[in-house]
Symmetry: D2
Subunit: 359 residues, 4 copies
């Protein structure tokens, strides 16, 4: 087997388990005597001169790097290189700088750890630059298709469930309804899993339209049953009653999801007279140390990605399907958005328990 030189980068929003992926690739590569080059800050590392990268050695992963959240390579969502936002406000195609960078680094292949957005860009870059690419799916949102799950999702749900575990006693002590807003972008996976596991009475998902009457009726029935508190989980992408996105304009001038929990709390308080308190969980869902499941998945994915490179199978995404690591065409994965299955086991389980999904 010829010695190879592999590039690796993390792209898009960070999550737990990225370092475990990187460590897996570097360790498995070291056993093949291959070299791994870590590109810093996603593709942005190749937009700088000098380019930002470094050769990764197995020994730097001796300690607890794999046990940490975040990514030692950094990641950016500073912009699409095909339409990069310049300081003067214009958009510029800087993709050739990246493909030139790949060539200069003399890479046999690049492993991109990202979500669907990153994969779409990386895939286009790879084709344009004649680069061999393999994708590893990561996202706390679990919205990437063709894989049961992606790196980072398990930890995010664990953190969200833990928050419900901590809110329940204070809700009960004060006769309150506690509303927890969780991440998930346009998908309700985190909310649904954490809500069932964490004992929620109501779970609001972007995939299922709610009314405040339904939510209020559930809270009232809980109180009628003799219980003095309620737990409500809301996905960040849930819309207002008028169907609008609830976005907040941040200091950087960008609008982002966030805060719909406050809206639901206000409406629910008005509808029921219950004392409501809202927690917007935020970035602790991303930065938490990875669960064993995320590390296991990350490790299996890293190994599989190297194997694909060894076999010359490019343009593929590694995936987890039915207890096995497999590979799929990356275009298929990008195309196959995964939302909550309205007829699946989890939704059915929630309904059978009497959890209101708002509909």
């Amino acid at each position: 087997m010829a010695k190879k030189r592999i590039g690796i980068l993390t792209s898009g929003g960070d999550c737990a388990g990225l370092n475990a992926v990187i460590r897996s690739v570097v360790h498995a590569a070291s056993h093949k005597d291959w070299e791994v080059v870590g590109i810093l800050d996603g593709t942005a590392g190749l937009l700088q001169r000098p380019m930002q990268y470094r050769v990764l050695t197995a020994n730097e992963f001796d300690g607890n790097v794999m046990r940490q959240g975040g990514t030692i390579l950094g990641t950016t969502n500073k912009g699409n290189p095909f339409a990069f936002p310049m300081a003067d406000g214009t958009l510029k195609d800087r993709s050739y700088e990246i493909t030139d960078g790949f060539k200069e680094l003399n890479l046999d292949a690049v492993i991109g750890i990202g979500g669907d957005g990153s994969f779409a860009i990386l895939s286009k870059l790879a084709k344009q630059g004649g680069i061999n690419m393999v994708g590893i799916p990561k996202t706390i949102d679990n919205d990437i298709g063709m894989t049961d799950t992606a790196v980072g999702f398990d930890t995010a749900v664990a953190v969200a469930t833990e928050a419900l575990d901590r809110l329940q006693p204070t809700a009960a002590s004060h006769d309150r309804v506690m509303i927890l807003e969780v991440m998930g972008r346009d998908a309700g996976h985190i909310a649904l899993a954490a809500g069932i596991a964490g004992g929620a009475d109501v779970i609001l998902l972007p995939e299922i339209k709610y009314t405040i009457e339904n939510v209020a009726a559930k809270i009232k029935s809980v109180k009628d049953s003799g219980r003095n508190f309620g737990l409500v989980v809301v996905s960040e992408a849930v819309k207002t009653l008028e169907g609008a996105k609830y976005e907040v304009e941040f200091a950087d001038g960008q609008k982002r999801y966030g805060g719909i929990g406050n809206y639901i709390g206000m409406k629910l308080s008005q509808a029921t007279g219950s004392e409501c308190r809202v927690t917007v969980l935020g970035h602790v869902q991303r930065g938490c140390p990875p669960t064993y499941n995320d590390r296991l998945l990350a490790t299996a994915f890293g190994v599989k990605a190297l194997q694909l490179i060894e076999e010359g199978k490019f343009g593929r995404m590694v995936a987890w399907q039915n207890r096995q690591v497999v590979d799929v065409a990356i275009e298929d994965a990008i195309a196959a958005y995964q939302e909550v299955d309205r007829e699946g086991t989890l939704v059915h389980t929630a309904r059978a328990l009497g959890i209101s999904l708002g509909d």
Copy 2:
């Protein structure tokens, strides 16, 4: 020793360790063959007819009750019984209903677990009703004087520190400044302890006046040193640059602290150009299972309270001073508000490390 009948209630905002106090009192009382009556929802349990209370038995604490957050007795902050808010909007003195309740329950003494506000009311009730009272200090804010610490503080700091541990990797991955708003009411104890332990670069306390220039200068010096991220902890009671309270009007029409972290994030983003993200930690600081320290303190306090009753020492608050449980006059404790010591070890430690306190 004559058999006694003791009342116990939790009052004010809940926190971790309350169940451990209750369990300690009930267990220690059972070894004296005394009876303990749990009054529900603070003094509010005595404003209802029939009164809401129940005899507590040692066996109900066999399981993991002491390991749980919240209070099995419930607590309310529905209002001062000397000026109770009635449905028609008027205030009414309902204190005699409570003192009548105490008499009807035929109690030798009442143990009130609360903060300074609760103690002031309970103390007044006790005097008015000829009730013997002992106080046990609890507050996540650690603002009660004459005791090194109170039940609930240790857990709240642990949760806040854990949040910083989780925010650091995602901050580093994305070159961000992460701002964490923590509780503490008018005192900065949680922010200061969690900030030092959690590796914060900036800690803003209500006790120390800040300027955004100072905060921005610290963040810039961090970046100049080659580090790409920053961590900022903000106490909920920190004021705006104009010196105003930053309160949010909630759905119930009440204004409460909360959100100053967003204000700081906005100002800091403007001043530094750094990408800032804000996490308002909220009620998970209250409802988390108690740390061993909070359970140890709770247990020692419960035992001491019973001992005071046995010795006929009333109008006292149990306290922790220099590795020992002691007792102090409850009026002295109410009067002795504890804020962050601007010349103490923690402030000195923070400054020596180069942490900016904003001044």
Copy 3:
């Protein structure tokens, strides 16, 4: 739908998530207006007179019961009712007492939460007594066939991985090899998953025969690579070099697995000269609060079990297969023992990373 009366019991070794199963059944039943009778201490509750059981109400699960380890119903492994060990040392068939008990309780069906051993007994009892039975698989060992996973496994692996996370820094500080012995009965699932996720260098499983030479060679190669410490995970059922079971005679006169980690540590220390320390993790793997995954699984299983009863499908075990809850013939599940797949993704992943499996 006619109102039904369902029995439920937990049998065999306890694990995390049992209370979440019970809560799921009770909650889902309450929405059908069915009654659930909890039988105490497995089938042993029906061997006593008066029989030990109680009707379970939805409200007792309002608090954090589902978040706790253990089982509120109790469980015993005091003996096979078909050959029950009597005080005089003889074995007696007491199975009719149990089937009589079922009849007396007037149950439409019984839900047995157990492992393969419990299912074999329950299944036989059900047939003999004309009882309708549904099984829910639980085991930290994950050795039950026809289901991807069982209640309790995820938590056990999480605890074992956490132990490795805690052993790594002290191993590195002292240049030591740390050996962690984990549970798993005759299967290596816990060891394999925790070992990969926790960064082990060596994982010894009952399914794969090891030599000390191979283990020592891996530890030496680790040290040659410049790393000063090693992590070794050993399943409790791993045998000695001579192929013998390593069992310890306990104070009750019974022999049980346990301690093979000490044996491996001794052999490895002799073979390598490395300072070895052994941790036998023990019962904390069982009693830990359930992870969200175990609670999710438990909840889906409880709902499915009720559905099977509603549909009149008896003699079935609920199972998790490929992201869905399904049901299988309980005899098939009992027959289909699940051991570590020597050609599966996890074993392949471990080998590709250079982890020694001892062979």
Copy 4:
């Protein structure tokens, strides 16, 4: 202020919080523009040629090093340099190699992070070599005098308490007595604190002589009260009924504490007929990530040590007394062994709750 060059080393058994001490010293030094030299593996780093050390920079602590267990400097207990065990079995005075090393490194002062044994050696080395030394106390055992607590103790108690939390549900599920053996060397501090906080029925300490009759009587009274399980905590240094040390000969030929829990379990099982299970907690008490308290203490200690050096106060140990960091003569600290106070608040609290201390 003249620029200084400070050495730092960790010595003796590792514990949580050591990295937080090192980080504090390096950060605080960097603000004085002083240089910090980390000596590797305790004093052993100076017994090698070339000597093993490296200059520590503030930036290496940017990430989560302070949040990790262990010590990045390594530590050894390979032997007293005044009587160093040589390969040929003889003992040799190698102390001059170390003092020569200190001189060669051109250090203004050395900060030794250790326990009483390490301090005795370091103190002697310092005097002999004309070295300026300051000590920072660390030990999970909390047996160092003149300081309320030392780095590492809080985390060790937290881990031990967590183990009890996990053992309680499985004990209750199986009607068992769970015995937990914890560390602590010759002092019972960990056992006492964890036992009270973790709801133990019996706590056995080296400072208080027990009889099995007393322990068995407590377990019987627990069962008579209607509770079906018991929790027993045993310090590793508790002796057998005959007053002998219970030590185990390890593979390296050395005898160490460990296993007395098994002895107590056996005796208790015989005395009560209860099913007993034993967990020997082991090294997870050392390697766990530090609690916020340990990090806070570590940080304050690091700052104070630098201040002492700045003020020219040598031969001192930093200490925590009554909410403040202070300094004491290191000889006084070495002389003032701290055992459990038989008349202190914790012992009194345990007795009042009915916890048996075996006497």
